[in-house]
Amino acid sequence: MLHSSATLAAKSRSVAPPSAQPHLQISGLTKRFGDFTALRDIALEVHEGEFVCFLGPSGCGKTTLLRAIAGLAPQSEGRIVQRGRDISRLPPQARDFGIVFQSYALFPNLTVFDNIAYGLRNQRADRQRIRQRVAELLELVNLRGSEDKYPAALSGGQQQRVALARALATEPALLLLDEPLSALDAQVRVHLRGQIKGLQHRLGVTTIMVTHDQEEALAMADRIVVMNHGVIAQVGTPAEIYREPASAFVAAFIGNMNFFDVTSEGREGLRLGHRRLEGVPHDLTPGVAARLAIRPEAVRLCTEAEGLAAQVEDVEFLGAFLRVTLRLEECEQFVVADIADREVVSLDVKPGQRLGIRLPNESVRLYPAAEAGV
């Protein structure tokens, strides 16, 4: 019935796969735990060399999907094809991937060297070859000289890198990372983020990373798969996901978003409280309720006469910008605007001050009024 958000979302350009055959094709994948459906009819393609993030709130099924791809928790239904080979029913041993768990699962009784060489020994590579490869990997993750240490003697970030080296040792075609950074403190996290991304870029290994940290996903991923309640909500580049969220859920989950309750009026008009907004094209039947969304940084402040009348409720200083909370006078709805420091001075923004706000049409998105999960 409501097509407005779809229409708007349709503008997003689809990223064409660079090579003909995708690395991974998932179709019709469903995973049930007893009566509970953790994943429902998932379809997804991952391209060769791509860095994909699974992003979503806790319990939405990210780990479950990753484990299904690894074969650690086989799906109930559906197909997984890797480089043209159907791996749907293969045990993990017969698939081609390396994995890093949130806990790292480093073997505590083995040295860093033995941990990294764990999969190499099995390939019956000779000692010299193994030593050389481990040295290479330690170089790669910046851990030269730690060969003889035990995991307990390493910091969290170092352990994480050992786990990464161990997963990469056998040169898997696909690297799976389940919240690899979540156990680390903020600074180490940002640092390692760059390292992992750089490493992935250099090696060109197709990578899927699970995270519930949107900032991490936006910074690292070539494409993000936003998930909610066991289904995929949107797939796209970080910019697409941020600028053109396909649903109110994605819009609310990624970054900050203002929502206004509106009603449609004619082809171009929307009613917000007592005011009629023009220039937002939609195909809603007149009189239907919808939600208008705009990012705080897209909201413009002006004098009272130039826009929608609003009163400043609160001003928060956040360093690079100020976060201003305003109350729209017409409809008693709140709006948050992120504005640069100098605008504050020119407009004299302070609590109690009456101002106007403008919602630039190109930054505004429209979503159905009632959407599950928001």
Partner: protein
């Protein structure tokens, strides 16, 4: 359409998957043969007459109409209840001393308190006879009562069961939360009130569990009443008398079924309570440090060391009795009783048999138990099979040794049983002992395995390393302390057990513990004491070796444990 098609697909079979399935099936088969089938056969026998015809509950009816038999129920209950009250009370006080006071030498006391476990339950019974028997030093203390009967049984059992109770209660009382006591103190609550409102409620599950464990051990023990029971019959000795004395296997089966009932009830209660206790523990609890309090500390020191002293006296008596030439007439010391001259089969040969049996149980048992626990805890798939195996692994705790032993006769001695050849070999003794003590080892293994990162196996699989390599290189080394605990537990119990094996030995496989019983029956009291002491010291040496090995392992061989 596609969905239906997919779900009909058979999962592809990998070599590893097949191997795991086979291992699981072997585990199930092991416990089915070693536990379920024998028990089922025994239950069936209790419903048959001598010629094997089904007679319903006729045997049970006859049992209850024979006062000489049914009277044992009251006897068993009486001694078991009195023992429970004494042991739980004493153990609670001692556990309180260990956990809630500043008494000196806690570690030494705990070592002392463990000693009774290292001896067969026959040892305290023998000591009681020497201490309070017709020629005993302290017979006047009984004020004319005979030690042969309920008094002796209760004293002997209390000694032997005390360590079990102390371990449970020490654990229960150490799970205390200091914050509660601080809060109580801040509110001006008197000490005695915080005892009744905080200490007791916190330990109540431990207390209940302990009471049931003690009761079960007491009602199913055979060694003590066998030696010191005299004319006072209890269920465990009845089973033995019916089977060995009167060759009345059907009645033996009936008594076994009756003996099974309290054990099963206590097993169920214990399981329910254990489940609750876990939920009660708060992760943020702060361990409580007792402040010095001279009166309290000295009271508990005297009490605990009093108990420790009694333990030493009882063991010392057995040692002394084994060294005295001819009690009480010639008190010169000698080692002749350790030669076991003219006691064919009941001497060093029996001790060697016991040693071989215990070593085999420890070796095979540790392997079987740990591998099975690993299959249950760490391998994916085959969920019903794994749950079934876990359930079967929990059952032996509910089956008294006498009952299991008799069940083995019925099952393995059937003419048609292809496993008949086991009968009379050392192997059947190993199997019986292993199954008898399976549950505790199983729980230890499961606990140890649960502490490992659940993803070790996944990492191994992703690196295409076969699961057995990950088991050998990671799981086993990391769990080594628990594995050693299991093996020494099995060894000590195999050395000391009587009840399970008393029906199953043959002339070639007579065990040391059984020999004690025979020597005692034949009137060679000093030799019986010597054999009991021999077992005690064997267990002690093994236990000390284990402690040394564990220490070396944790500080040297497994350097990684202290890497942090």
């Amino acid at each position: 359409m596609r969905a239906i098609h997919q779900s009909l697909l058979v999962p592809s079979v990998s070599a590893e998957g097949v191997l795991r399935l086979v291992a699981l099936l072997l585990g199930v088969a092991f416990l089915a043969l070693g536990l379920l089938l024998p028990l089922a056969t025994m239950l069936l026998k209790s419903l048959q007459d001598r010629s094997g015809d089904f007679v319903g509950l006729a045997n049970f009816a006859r049992y209850f109409q024979t006062p000489a038999l049914a009277g044992s129920i009251a006897n068993s209950l009486t001694v078991a209840l009195i023992t429970t009250v004494i042991v739980v009370g004493l153990a609670f006080l001692c556990a309180y001393g260990i956990t809630r006071t500043r008494m000196p030498g806690k570690r030494f006391f705990r070592m002392l308190a463990i000693l009774p476990i290292l001896a067969p339950s026959l040892l305290p019974a023998i000591s009681m006879v020497y201490l309070f028997g017709n020629q005993g030093w302290f017979r006047d203390w009984l004020m004319g009562q005979s030690i042969y009967g309920p008094i002796g049984i209760v004293m002997g059992m209390s000694f032997w069961i005390f360590p079990h109770a102390l371990m449970i209660l020490t654990t229960a009382l150490s799970n205390s939360d200091a914050r509660l006591y601080e809060a109580a103190e801040a509110l001006g609550t008197p000490k005695w009130r915080s005892f009744f409102t905080i200490t007791l409620p916190a330990a109540r599950y431990g207390l209940i569990s302990c009471a049931f464990v003690v009761f079960t051990l007491a009602i199913t023990d055979f060694g003590v009443p066998k030696i010191i029971g005299g004319q006072y019959n209890v269920l465990a000795t009845d089973v033995y008398r019916q089977v060995v004395g009167q060759q009345n296997f059907q009645m033996g089966a009936v008594v076994s079924v009756i003996l099974l009932i309290p054990a099963v009830i206590s097993f169920i209660v214990d399981r329910l309570v254990q489940r609750r206790q876990v939920a009660q523990l708060s992760a943020r609890a702060v361990p409580w440090q007792p402040a010095p309090n001279p009166v309290r500390d000295w009271t508990f020191t005297i009490l605990c060391y009093g108990v420790g002293g009694i333990i030493l006296v009882v063991i010392g008596t057995a040692i002394y009795a084994s060294l005295v030439r001819f009690w009480p007439y010639n008190l010169s010391l000698t080692l002749t009783h350790y030669a076991f001259q003219g006691l064919a089969g009941s001497g060093w040969e029996a001790w060697t048999n016991s040693l071989r049996m215990a070593a085999a149980v420890a070796l095979v048992g540790t392997l079987v138990v740990f591998v099975n626990a690993w299959l249950i805890e760490k391998s994916g798939g085959y969920r019903p099979l794994r749950q079934g195996l876990h359930f079967m692994a929990m059952l032996p705790m509910a089956v008294p040794g006498m009952v299991l032993g008799l069940a083995y006769i019925f099952y393995f001695n059937q003419p048609g049983n292809p496993l008949n050849w086991l009968y009379g070999t050392l192997a059947i003794l190993v199997l019986n002992t292993l199954v008898h003590y399976y549950t505790v080892c199983h729980l230890t293994s499961i606990t140890a395995l649960k502490q490992l990162d659940p993803e070790f196996e996944s990492v191994g699989a992703s690196l295409k390393v076969p699961f057995w390599t990950t088991f050998r290189r990671v799981t086993l080394p990391v769990s080594l302390p628990a594995v050693l605990d299991i093996s020494v537990y099995l060894f000590v119990n195999a050395m000391t057990t009587v009840s399970g094996v008393v029906f199953l030995y043959s002339t070639d496989t007579r065990l040391a513990s059984v020999a004690i019983m025979h020597l005692d029956e034949a009137g060679y009291f000093a030799s019986a004491a010597a054999m009991a002491v021999l077992i005690f010291f064997t267990s002690l040496v093994v236990k000390l070796l284990h402690a040394a090995l564990t220490y070396a392992l944790l500080t040297k061989a497994q350097r990684w444990r202290n890497a942090g």
